[in-house]
Each structure stands twice: as structure tokens, then as C-alpha cells.
Symmetry: C2
Subunit: 238 residues, 2 copies
DNA sequence: CCTAGTTACGTACAGCGTACGTAGTGCGCT
DNA sequence: AGCGCACTACGTACGCTGTACGTAACTAGG
């Protein structure tokens, strides 16, 4: 009988298998992949212990041999998508490399729209996350600042990517399992915003609305924000 | 019979009351306040329709007259804490004003540790959020850049605040309703991280670990990040 | 070989969001 | 004045959730 711990525990510190008894039928990677598959196809709310167990072809409670709490399943999921990062050879141009990393993170989030909702809750230091962190530090080798500043830059970039991308894809995740489309929902929300701005209660916001002509190009807004952050850490610009 | 809509809907576009029938017993603010009280005291997971209704002293299903879906309750909560922002008179120093806004946002999140977990899911444009946005634009009046750039700066700052603060308070929210303390959980996680770094698999990460002496001052890390972002938008520095 | 530790998993329980139906209330219209 | 309807109120019920607990099968170490 495994039992849940009465003391804090990091799932990554648990050995994947322990000699005695029947061989486990699945690896952590199998389980994470199944959960990710479900979340991608049916949304994060469809990721239940029962559903994941069924996807794996085992009983619900068998899953608890591998994943003590549901929260740990979330950690497996976040770490699993960390493996999708291409850990390329650093080019020596830290700005270009970090831009590439950020663009890749954004692409991963677009593939897995449930990531932003999960991020704030998990302790994202599984093996793949650590590998990615190490990769970023390798890219930042040419940048001549203290290591602490480098990790701050990495955190800041990740934050910017998460924030900007979360806004884009929130509606996608929300309208899943709703009887209407992303476009319909966005139209209703925009109409509401327009009506509020039209009341005259927010003059500066109204001016900002008027100023923009045509739809905003989210991609270039995103890239501009990244450049700004990189500028802020570039010794050549100060 | 009210019924849930089969078409997208913004709760803020719904009128709070409509002439006919008995007078509603609560306002949206009452409901939001009750939900916030529960989330603050018992954590976000304790915010159930039943629980909030009980806090208000009404039947569970009566709540659905005011809040068509639980997701809308979340929107009410996020907007309610927007009212905690002090909308001070802009001083003319946009950097100082925006720093103050950011510090206040951080303080609000520290008071309501469930905010980061909720943020990515909600459409945060209720009346208080709009008022805050307008306030930020007022603070940025002296900054001579296009309105689009200003809203980008606001979004970026909010993102940085959310990311940095979410990391600080994630454990607080996680250990709620767990039989151990924040300190115990952090100790276990740090021990795990130390063991991973000690394997030698992450040399650059190990070096970064070695470099830091003593505990990190999260507050100054946060403030440094803000300054960097502001630098990136300051025309006087380019 | 035995036994202790493990895997496997069925059952059960408390709690969730919410669909639906019914009863009561009071504004607006005729 | 009074009818009718829109609205509030809320009890019941359904299908779902995470997971505690108990039992049976299996296998490596002593």
C-alpha cells in the first residue's frame, strides 16, 4: 500500500521504480504524454485521473501508484512540454539566441493552450525544465553580467512570453466545450469594450482606441516587447 | 426562469437589475466581496457556488440569478480587487508613478495570493480594471510615445509583476490545506534542487548557485526588473 | 522458499457545477 | 384595479471529481 505522504514531497525526487514487486506498466513520460494528449484535444478540464487512466488503459486508482496527487500530474505535464524546446548550439549572439528561445516558448504555448493556466501553480523544476534553464545559461555565456542577472533576465523573458501569449490564447481555452466559437466570443467582448469606451468614462482609453487603425498585429507587438526587454539588459546600449 | 445563455456573454454587459419582480437581495459587489473573503481565508479551491451562497446567506441556486457561470464569479473577484488600487493624482514623473502602481499591484497580489492562478483565465476588463487602465494612461501622459506603445508598456509591467509575484506566493497558495508549512515545503524543494545541481548535469546552473551568497532579496530583484523594463521605454536613455 | 514490499484496482464518499422545476413577488400595462 | 409576466428564490437530482481504503496478485531479497 503506497499511501499519500503527510510530509512535503517533490515527485522528481521519487525513484521511478524500486526493485521489488511487479514491474510498473508505465513510465512517467507515458503518463505525462497521455495527460498532454487529453489536454490538447479536450482542454485542461478534461484531464481527470479517471480520464488519464482510461487513456493509459489502466484502472483509475492504479495511477496513484505513479502520481501521488493530481498536482503532481500537472508537474509532469509542464515538464513534458519542456522537452519540446530545441536545445540548439549557442551561436555566440546571445540576443538572437534568447529571441529564438522565447519564440519557441511561445510556439509551444500555442500548441498547448492550457500551459499558462497551469504555470502559476506548479514548481517547474523537473529534469526538462532544468535542462532548458541550463541551455538558456549557455546562450547567455557571451553576456558579461553576474549569473544572478542572467537568471533574472531568463525569468523576465519567460514572464513576458507567458503574459503576452496567455492573453492571445485565453479565449481559445475558454471556448473549448462551449457552444460558440472563439470568433463569436471575441466579437461579443469587443462590442462590450466598445460600448464602455463610448460612454466617455475613459477618455484616454478612448483616445488609444481611436488611434489604432485596423487590427493589431499581436506577433509584432510581442516581438517589440521582447526587444525592449533585451535592450534593457544589453551592456552595449547603456 | 433565467437560464444560462447559449451564446457568449460578458457579465458586465448584463444590467445589475431590471425593474420587474422582487428587488435583488445582493449587489455584484456583495457577491464579489464574499467570494474574495472566502478565497483569502480558505484558498481559491474553497470558493464554490455553495460556499459563496452560504457566506451570503442564500440558497446555492439563488446565486445563479446573479452569476450565470462560475467563471463569471472569477471575473467579479478579479475586478473587485482592482478597486484596491489607489488612483492617485499623477505627479508628472511617469517612471515614479508607474513604479508606484506596480508596487501596489504586487501588494494586492500578496494580500490575495489566489490572483495569479485566476488571471490567465479571465477577461479582465470590468469597470475597476478599466478605471485602473485609465489611471495608468493618465500617469503616462508625460511620456511622449504613441498610445499603442503605452498600452504595451502597461501590459509588460503587469506581466512582470504577475510573474515575479506568482513565484513568491505559489507555495503559500499550495500549502493551504496541506498538513505542512510553507517553510517545510520550500526546504524540501530546495534540498531537491541542491541534489540535482550536485549531480553535475547542470554545470552553469551549479555555477550560478555557487555565486550567490546568502538568501536572495526578492524585493530588490523585483524592483531591479521593473527598473529595467522602464529603462527600455525611457526616451531619455536611448 | 518465504515474506515483505510493490503493483493493480474495485468500491465508496464527500463535494463539485449546474439543469430543471416550482413557488412566491411586485412592476407595468391595460 | 387587477391581470399577467418577468423576476427572485431555492430544493432536488445528476453526472462528475479527487482520493481514502481494502483486497488480491506478483516478485525480488534474505
Amino acid at each position: 500500500m503506497a499511501g499519500r505522504a503527510a510530509v512535503p514531497e517533490v515527485i522528481w525526487a521519487r525513484p521511478e521504480r524500486t526493485g521489488r514487486g511487479p514491474k510498473p506498466a508505465f513510465t512517467r513520460a507515458d503518463i505525462a504524454a497521455a495527460a498532454v494528449r487529453i489536454a490538447d484535444a479536450e482542454g485542461l478540464d478534461a484531464v481527470s485521473m479517471r480520464h488519464v487512466a482510461a487513456e493509459l488503459g489502466c484502472g483509475t486508482m492504479s495511477l496513484y501508484n505513479y502520481v501521488p496527487r493530481k498536482e503532481d500530474l500537472y508537474e509532469l505535464m509542464i515538464d513534458a512540454i519542456g522537452a519540446e524546446h530545441e536545445m540548439f548550439e549557442p551561436t555566440g549572439d546571445w540576443r538572437a539566441d534568447m529571441l529564438r528561445n522565447a519564440e519557441e516558448t511561445r510556439a509551444i504555448m500555442r500548441r498547448h493552450t492550457w500551459v499558462p493556466r497551469l504555470m502559476p501553480g506548479v514548481f517547474a523544476f523537473g529534469p526538462n525544465s532544468l535542462r532548458y534553464l541550463e541551455h538558456c545559461l549557455a546562450c547567455l555565456e557571451p553576456l558579461d553580467v553576474p549569473a544572478g542577472t542572467k537568471t533574472e533576465l531568463i525569468a523576465l523573458l519567460n514572464g513576458v512570453v507567458t503574459t503576452y501569449t496567455a492573453n492571445d490564447i485565453a479565449t481559445v481555452e475558454r471556448t473549448r466545450s462551449m457552444p460558440w466559437t472563439v470568433e463569436e466570443e471575441n466579437a461579443v467582448r469587443m462590442a462590450y469594450l466598445g460600448s464602455q469606451v463610448a460612454t466617455g468614462a475613459y477618455p484616454r482609453l478612448a483616445a488609444a482606441f481611436m488611434e489604432q487603425s485596423g487590427p493589431v498585429d499581436l506577433e509584432s507587438v510581442f516581438r517589440r516587447a521582447l526587444e525592449r526587454v533585451l535592450d534593457a539588459y544589453d551592456p552595449d546600449l547603456r
